[in-house]
Symmetry: C2
Subunit: 192 residues, 2 copies
């Protein structure tokens, strides 16, 4: 039936499991869904889940890792265009608003996860922190190249606006949120 090899890490059942977990965790939260829900919708048996993941927590971490890589990919794709620096910032902001306006948008996967795992020492919480550190560094770098000074403050300002937009994007009119966000980003880009 399948043409590709079934090499351990990229098994088809594992893929189905992870994409199902991603969808359900993102749209319904983490603590409120059990593994039974996931194995049922992934059409996988219980044993298969625990063959690929040590437990639910590892599945959650894999979900966040996947989300992290997706976002990094988006940013890399924008950078590869080699636009003028301010336009690169604008393009990244636009991809964010596209996410907010897309159907099924449920906020930032990482902010949502942090709300469910408040303990800073928990692996899930730390995965959130790691992603956010990368994003902040990236924002500072992009705004520095765009000539914003001090770039640190500008980067933090950008991230703060993004966090607000992502958090509110599923609690208010996404179009208005996007407009407000883009306007705020122009404010950061504009020389003081």
């Amino acid at each position: 039936m399948s043409a590709s090899t079934t090499g351990g890490r990229t098994s088809e059942a594992r893929t189905r499991l992870l994409s199902t977990a991603t969808r359900i965790f993102y749209t319904e939260g983490i603590h409120s869904v059990g593994v039974d829900r996931i194995i049922e919708e992934a059409q996988v048996t219980r044993a298969t889940l625990y063959r690929h993941f040590k437990g639910k927590e590892e599945l959650v971490l894999a979900y966040l890792l996947q989300a992290d890589q997706a976002i990094r990919g988006q940013v890399e794709a924008v950078r590869a265009q080699e636009l003028p620096a301010p336009d690169t910032v604008r393009a990244v902001a636009r991809t964010i608003t596209e996410g907010i306006r897309s159907s099924g948008f449920r906020g930032c996967a990482f902010l949502n996860a942090a709300a469910e795992y408040p303990d800073p020492s928990h692996p899930v919480h730390q995965a959130v922190l790691a992603h956010r550190q990368w994003f902040l560094e990236t924002a500072v770098e992009l705004l520095d190249q765009a000539g914003c000074t001090p770039a640190d403050a500008a980067g933090r300002h950008f991230v703060m606006l993004r966090d607000g937009a992502m958090a509110a994007g599923c609690l208010f009119d996404p179009a208005l949120i996007s407009e407000t966000f883009l306007h705020g980003v122009e404010g950061i880009l504009r020389p003081a």
Copy 2:
């Protein structure tokens, strides 16, 4: 032992119950703590909980109602000072940063609750929406009085910054978050 009457709604056991629930829900999340934890720390029996609340959900709603009233009280206290309009905005912003910098800060109770109750039709989610609507209206009103035009956009901008600051306040250095937030608010206040 107690001097006041034991009139239904303000019973001492109920108060202990609600303040305990508030503390635990805020610091540890909602889905991840069971009623057993709450009744144990509140030193109340199971029957007492269900005499005062129909179930856990009603306890969650009472927790959010209490948080809502606390925040409204803060804003009212600032307004009562009758400062010049821009200073009123600054004072509200400062109370927000004081929250962020206070020990035990765990983000916005409402954003956290929304992350755990994504279903828009759920009573808890709706309580979050109601609180946010009030806050947005208040922000627009204050910024309008401060001479910001258009006040709608300014209010949305203010709320977005606040959301970002509250969300990130427990994921990054609170002092830097506060500084960034206050700086952003000055940007909103400053005439374009």
